[in-house]
Each structure stands twice: as structure tokens, then as C-alpha cells.
């Protein structure tokens, strides 16, 4: 192979992509680390403060801790609303019945909408006066249960979790559906002939074989919880809601850096978040791979 090929030619193929990627992702990502040791308002001189930003983030910044807790709550919630929901639909829609291929396509539709449109739309579904949910509650005589779903610290995260499930449920459905299709039909058929119920087939045959996909799905949920920004920003009034009850790490970083002009502090929060996400994801993948080997 490679007769008469200049040994530098391959680099010409890679170079354009590399330049753009390094300049606009990698270099800023490393530079962010440097920023985190400074006090800087975004213009004027930068003042070196050592570990002060980190001490503050891990020590006195209660809202950052609350935001972190909210990220974890959101993650736990989306395991139900996105992963479990998607898995259930995938299993039900995997039967070779008419309509079902069309329904799978339909379920996926929200994935192409922008989070901005979805966030605004669902703000009105949860709206205290014109909201679909409250007027439904009123129609069935449960006015007392009505509330401002996005204005109540008790329900704000759950409300976003449900909207998230509406958006990403179809995505996880198709992930699991692809996995289910790869399972030989003979396995389920054999169980069915032995008189197993559909529930038994799901729990004892389908579910264990979907484990590799489940591992990925949970990872996507976890990293997704830290990538989430748009939906929270739109639905909780620029990330916050009452008493920061809807604050997540991503919204708090953006407020610190771009509303309070604390670039260095925002950068430190971003470093902490990145370390948490990368370390936990790596550990999780190593752990789940080891488990698979033990089988």
C-alpha cells in the first residue's frame, strides 16, 4: 500500500479538522484550568488567587452544592422518565404488529425540536392559569392539587424531569429497540412455548440481554444531566426558580461567569464539574466492563 505517497500527505487530511478542534475546543478547555486560579471580571487585569476559587466552591457556596444536588435529583428522575420509560415502550413496540413501525418514528419526533421550543411549550403546560395540567385537575374536581408546577420548589425538578422524558423517551426507546431486535427471537419464543408470561419473558430473557445498552443509557443520562442547560434556563426562569430550587451546576456556572462577571470563579466551578463527570464516567465504565468479564 501507499506507493508513491508523500509521508506528509496524511497530515494534510487531518490538519484542517485538527486546527478547528484544537483552537475552539481543546485550547479553551485547557485554558479554562488556568482561568480558575484567577479573580477576573472579564476585562482589565487578572489577579492570581491560588486555590481561593476552589475553596469557596467546595466550602461556602451553598447554592453550588444545592445545584449539584439538583443535578443528581434530575439524573435519578430521568432514569425513570427517559430510560425506564423508553425501555418499556421499546419492549411493547417490538412486537411485530401493524402501526408499530410508524409509532416508533412518531415517538422520536421531539428529538428534532429545539429545547427552547420544548421548554417554552411545557412552561405553558405547567402554567398556573392556562396550563393543561391545572385545568385538567380542575375538570376532575381536584383544584386543591393545582399549583404553579415550575414555581414550587417541591415540584420544579420533577416537572423538568417529565419534560425531559417527553423529549428523550423516544431516543432511549430506539436505543433499546435496536438491542431487542438483536436478541434472537427463538429465545423469547422458547420461553413462550414453556408458558412464560410476557412479564417473565421481559424480566428473565429480554432485560438481562439488554444490559450492555443499559450501561450506556445510564451513562448518557448521567453526562446528559450535566450537559443540560437550555431546558432549565428556559423553564425555570434563567435557571433558578424560587430560592434556586431549579438551579443546576450548568446554570450556576453561566450566571457566575456572565451575569456576575466572575470569570475565574465560573471557570473553577466548570473544572470541578468536568472532573466529577469525567472521573465518575470512567470509573463507571471500567466497573461495568469488569462486571461483564466476570459473567
Amino acid at each position: 500500500m501507499q506507493r508513491g505517497i508523500d509521508r506528509y500527505t496524511p497530515y494534510l487530511f487531518v490538519l484542517p479538522a485538527l486546527v478547528v478542534f484544537v483552537l475552539f475546543v481543546l485550547y479553551p478547555a485547557l485554558d479554562n484550568f488556568r482561568y480558575s486560579f484567577f479573580d477576573w471580571r472579564g476585562f482589565g487585569p487578572m489577579e492570581w488567587v491560588g486555590w481561593a476559587n476552589y475553596e469557596r466552591a467546595l466550602g461556602s457556596d451553598g447554592i453550588f452544592h444545592l445545584a449539584f444536588r439538583n443535578n443528581i435529583l434530575y439524573f435519578l428522575g430521568t432514569i425513570g422518565s427517559e430510560v425506564a420509560f423508553g425501555l418499556m415502550i421499546a419492549f411493547l413496540l417490538s412486537k411485530p404488529l401493524p402501526l408499530f413501525s410508524g409509532l416508533r418514528v412518531l415517538f422520536f419526533t421531539p428529538m428534532v425540536l429545539s429545547m427552547t421550543i420544548i421548554g417554552i411549550l411545557w412552561s405553558y403546560i405547567y402554567h398556573p392559569q392556562i396550563g393543561l395540567i391545572n385545568s385538567l385537575l380542575a375538570a376532575v374536581g381536584q383544584q386543591d392539587a393545582a399549583r404553579a408546577w415550575l414555581g414550587d420548589p417541591q415540584t420544579i425538578i420533577a416537572a423538568v424531569v417529565i419534560t425531559s422524558g417527553w423529549t428523550y423517551g423516544g431516543f432511549f426507546m430506539l436505543l433499546f429497540y435496536a438491542g431487542i431486535k438483536r436478541i434472537p427471537a427463538a429465545l423469547a419464543e422458547a420461553a413462550r412455548l414453556d408458558g412464560a408470561s410476557e412479564w417473565k419473558i421481559f424480566t428473565l430473557v429480554t432485560f438481562p440481554l439488554l444490559r450492555p445498552i443499559l450501561v450506556i443509557a445510564l451513562l448518557l443520562c448521567w453526562t446528559g444531566s450535566f450537559k443540560a442547560f437550555n431546558l432549565f434556563w428556559v423553564m425555570t426562569g434563567e435557571g433558578g426558580g424560587p430560592y434556586h430550587s431549579g438551579e443546576i451546576v450548568a446554570t450556576w456556572i453561566m450566571k457566575q461567569a456572565f451575569q456576575f462577571s466572575r470569570m475565574g470563579y465560573g471557570a473553577a466551578l466548570a473544572v470541578i464539574m468536568t472532573i466529577v463527570v469525567v472521573v465518575s464516567s470512567t470509573a463507571y465504565l471500567l466497573y461495568s466492563n469488569r462486571q461483564r468479564l466476570e459473567y
Binding site: F24, P28, Y124, L132, S135
Partner: protein, 275 residues
């Protein structure tokens, strides 16, 4: 296929109902744009009394949606062209050519799959400001291209690796250079994979919010997601206007999905499974 049993009909009916319930928020948005505010307020569930699209053009004009739409088109189409070009060149080298540093460079790009935007958005903002790009289209096009590269290179690398080498070998014997092999042989037979990454990049850049909010403050270059968000801020109690604007902005996306759903589903799920 076996004949359907009553259980199958129950399941089909249940799934159909669930699907309708899932679709209802979008349907509600569309028909609420035909109801006066008074009716939306008194009975949000009720159907409109008449079919009308009268507020659509009004929302389009007062929301400045035409401008934002054009800006989004410019940013998205340029981003897609750049992603397809740069990613296919790089992925071809990673899949087919031998050179020192191939593996490490490939993994460098893959690292981009896990980095959250918050990790680099602050220095990126400063960089773009120093380059004098804030409020210009490149302030979005360049970062969107950079963000689109990892997944695109990943998908194309997997695709190129499955192609038979015979054609390339024959062309090489005929004296074809690498760039000619890439452009005359690899590109034409990779259209499905290229379509997948193009559509992925298009959806991502069309819907991107954070960078668009931070890097563009000028109405003349603002893109649709931020434009809609500002529209929402202005007309949050003019429900009919708001729903008209949202519906107008949603229709192109739904049409896009109707036409390209196979590629979209392929691109969005295959990438995740191979990670």
C-alpha cells in the same frame, strides 16, 4: 405472520393512545394559535372555533422571525458544509492511511464527545472576543464545526472502515493521488453516511442555545433559538401570538423530520451505541 389476537388489538390501541398523548403538546400548541387569548385563558383544552392562520404572519413579522430564520440558515448551512468536508478528510486518513500519531490524534477527537460545553465556554468567549468575532456568524460557525467534528469523524471512521479496499487499490495502481481517491471514489460511495453526519450537524447547530446566547447580542446576527426565547419574553401573556410563533418555528423542523427521519434516527442512535 400469525393472525392477530384480541390481546394484540388491546396493545395496539393502548400504544396508539399513548402516542396521541405524547403528540398532544404539539397539537395543542398548533391549535391554540388559532384561539383568541380569552378562550385560551378560560378553557385551554377546547378546540378553536375556526381554522385560521391569521396570527402566523403577524408573529413572523413582530417576532423578527424571518431575520432569525435567515441567520440560522446561514450559520447551519455553513457549519454543515465545513463539518462534512473537514470530518470526511480526517476520518479518511484515520481509517485508511498510515502515519505516526494516528491513534493518539483519533482519541484526541473522541475526547470531544465527553467534554461538556461549560468546560470551555468561558475561555472560548474571551478568545472570540479577542479575535473580534463576537456578533458575527463565524462566532457560531467555528465552534459549532469544532463541536460537530468528534461525532462525525467517529461515525465516518466506522463507515470508511467497512468499505472494501479494491477500488482504492485499483485507482492507486492507475496512478491516482490520495486526494483524487478521496474525492472521486470515497466521497461518492459514502453518501448515506455523509447524509447522516450532515443531518446531525444541522440539527445540533440549528437548535444550539448556549453559545448563541453568549456570542451573539446583535439582532442582525441572532439565531432562531435565542430569537424565540426573546419573543417569549415579550409576548408571554399574548398567548395566541406566542403559540403562533412557536408553531411557525416548529413546522420546518417537523417537515425536516418527516423527510429525513431514517437518517436522523440512524445518526442519533447509532453514534450512541458505538461509544
Amino acid at each position: 405472520m400469525n393472525r392477530l389476537r384480541w390481546k394484540d388489538y388491546v396493545l395496539m390501541l393502548a400504544m396508539l393512545l399513548l402516542c396521541l398523548a405524547m403528540a398532544f403538546p404539539m397539537v395543542w400548541m398548533a391549535y391554540s394559535s388559532m384561539k383568541p387569548n380569552r378562550l385560551i385563558f378560560t378553557d385551554p383544552w377546547s378546540l378553536p372555533e375556526q381554522f385560521t392562520l391569521e396570527r402566523f404572519s403577524e408573529a413572523w413579522v413582530v417576532g423578527n422571525l424571518g431575520r432569525y430564520f435567515t441567520n440560522s440558515m446561514i450559520v447551519t448551512s455553513t457549519t454543515v458544509l465545513l463539518v462534512v468536508l473537514l470530518a470526511s478528510l480526517a476520518a479518511y486518513a484515520f481509517a485508511r492511511l498510515e502515519f505516526r500519531g494516528r491513534q493518539p490524534l483519533f482519541y484526541l477527537f473522541l475526547a470531544g464527545l465527553v467534554i461538556p460545553a461549560q468546560t470551555f465556554v468561558i475561555p472560548l468567549f474571551v478568545l472570540l472576543r479577542n479575535l473580534g468575532l463576537i456578533d458575527s456568524y463565524p462566532a457560531l460557525i467555528l465552534p459549532y464545526t469544532a463541536l460537530g467534528l468528534p461525532m462525525s469523524i467517529f461515525i465516518l471512521h466506522a463507515f470508511f472502515s467497512t468499505l472494501p479496499r479494491d477500488l482504492e487499490d485499483a485507482a492507486a495502481i492507475d496512478g491516482c493521488g490520495l486526494f483524487r481517491i478521496y474525492s472521486l471514489i470515497i466521497m461518492p460511495i459514502s453518501k448515506p453516511a455523509l447524509a447522516t453526519i450532515a443531518i446531525l450537524a444541522a440539527i445540533d447547530s440549528w437548535n444550539e442555545f448556549l453559545f448563541a446566547m453568549l456570542f451573539i447580542r446583535d439582532t442582525m446576527t441572532r439565531t432562531l433559538p435565542i430569537g424565540l426565547y426573546i419573543f417569549y419574553g415579550h409576548y408571554d401573556i399574548d398567548y395566541q401570538m406566542l403559540f403562533s410563533g412557536l408553531t411557525v418555528a416548529t413546522i420546518p423542523l417537523v417537515l425536516f423530520y418527516v423527510f429525513f427521519h431514517r437518517f436522523i434516527i440512524e445518526g442519533l442512535t447509532v453514534g450512541a451505541l458505538k461509544e
